[in-house]
Symmetry: C2
Subunit: 322 residues, 2 copies
Amino acid sequence: MNIRHFTFRLLQVYVAVVASGTVSEAARRLHLTQPTVSMQLKRLVEAVGEPLLESRQGRLFPTEAGSELYRASREVLGRFDDFDDYLSALRGGERGRFSIALVNTAQYVLPRLLGPHSQAFPEVEVTVHIGNRRQMLTRFERQEDDLYVFSHPPSLAHAKAGRFLRNPLVAVAPRGHPLAARERIDMSELLGERMLLREPGSATRMLFESWLQEQGLTLGRTLQMASNEAIRVGVASGLGLAVLSEHVLPPEHPDILILPVAGLPIESHWQFIVRSDRRLSHAALGFLRFAAGHLDACVEPRFLSNELEALLAGLERDESLH
Amino acid sequence: MNIRHFTFRLLQVYVAVVASGTVSEAARRLHLTQPTVSMQLKRLVEAVGEPLLESRQGRLFPTEAGSELYRASREVLGRFDDFDDYLSALRGGERGRFSIALVNTAQYVLPRLLGPHSQAFPEVEVTVHIGNRRQMLTRFERQEDDLYVFSHPPSLAHAKAGRFLRNPLVAVAPRGHPLAARERIDMSELLGERMLLREPGSATRMLFESWLQEQGLTLGRTLQMASNEAIRVGVASGLGLAVLSEHVLPPEHPDILILPVAGLPIESHWQFIVRSDRRLSHAALGFLRFAAGHLDACVEPRFLSNELEALLAGLERDESLH
DNA sequence: ATTTTATATAGATAACAATCTATGTAGGGT
DNA sequence: ACCCTACATAGATTGTTATCTATATAAAAT
């Protein structure tokens, strides 16, 4: 019984014959001619080496071996239908897995998207990596993830990007700070105080420093802390002032206030970045689709800046060129 | 995903690649060249429409879709291996089903073979039909069974036969019968008494009557009973005398004795009959093989007459001409 | 006995599977 | 920079599958 003489097609035909009980009827159902089905059957019998059907009362009934082959064929064909379903689910982004890498600051917002997405697609497994900008760039170079979230994309030579959220940087001070009462403050006035800064390699710090440079300002005393949370708590405790993403502040923040510094907030946007030299997993694509459609329901309207449709259009265009 | 582009061979190759983790190694294992395997893989990827493998650290790992295909392939190939095992069992006569039709008298002996056979081959289902010779002939004409047991075969045009057991017919009388003391009796002396006979259509009756005819004798008073048991009990109760198969008598039969009639026992043999125009089921063939080998262990030696090897040789010769 | 219906066989063909050899290319290791 | 190994592509060949039309045969129905 050489397995090479079996084809799925042959099994399909056989199943149709057993199910209908006649060769001609099976041929009709399969949109084949009767001799075609007869031949297939003959080949199958040869391949098995046993009679498979016997004719009684004008109908074909499977023999012992025939019944077992019928069972086997049904199972095998069924298994392939299942596989096909699995593929469809995979393609529809309903199942599968993807990984996403976030810059630290984005971790305050992304769960608002990831949570509902995983409710809607419970079969999709997501891995989230978090680190500062420099670490994310390394992951990006090494192609370790499906999606990346940056505020400023790396070279777009091998990547496509789509903005989805405003990320304003604001100056913050502890409640009761002397400058708090003022209506308008100049950044230069702040620089006399100690500034709490993120580590080098952080996107927030990079943005802040390049803004300062544009303004021709330089930092005075600083204190470096490698965490937005630590800085927020530090500011609240009077350790100094800071420039932070507004997303870092909790909805209610009675112990901290935002200073009305001229030129602030520093505007930036988070974007989803996709490597264009690497095929995007269906699950990741599914997440982007979900984000495009549900972003407005998941984040505060004032931060909205949804340019994901354009990204998706670009991706799907690529997809269609095989 | 057109199922026609999948072949079992393709799946075999794919499984080998996933299992070994490299194309070249799989090629070696399959005794193929590396490009052949590469090509197969390419075709499979096309057929599925998704990438199946990705290379990491110099080894190939299945993607999401690839893993599922691997699972499906293993199951499918496994199912076919099972089917192959099933076929082997069927061919070896270890499983399957057959039916056998016995003339009444043989029912006293055949269980001695059928019992041990079904111990040895518990997966084989046997159906036993019992009736008188005429009924068996009808079943034979209609090709209703795989095996038949007759003492005299029907026309051997469409059948092969093999003797396996002596079936001597003896004259019996109740214990204490006047003729019992005699050393030698003539059948003519018995015919004065009432003879208990089986129904017309019975093999025992047919044999007895044709023997009588040869001897130029005719029956006197008779009484007809359609069962060997009834006749045996009838004789024991003094209802008359009878000529019966010796097999009908229980091992101990204190109330009945065998008369030393000249010319008796009437010798006949039971035979297994197989239609030669109908393919014999493996299970039935298995039973014949079993009978050929174990007959001596299953029946009393004095009845042995095993010519089954010749029958089997004839059958297997046919088998080999397809 | 004749017609209808179901199945099998023959002969033909286009497409494809399965395989090879030869050659090109890319990723790791020294 | 170079080499080895693994993988991919190209081109060719052989055999098989899948399918058809036309026709013969067997079985059932009238």
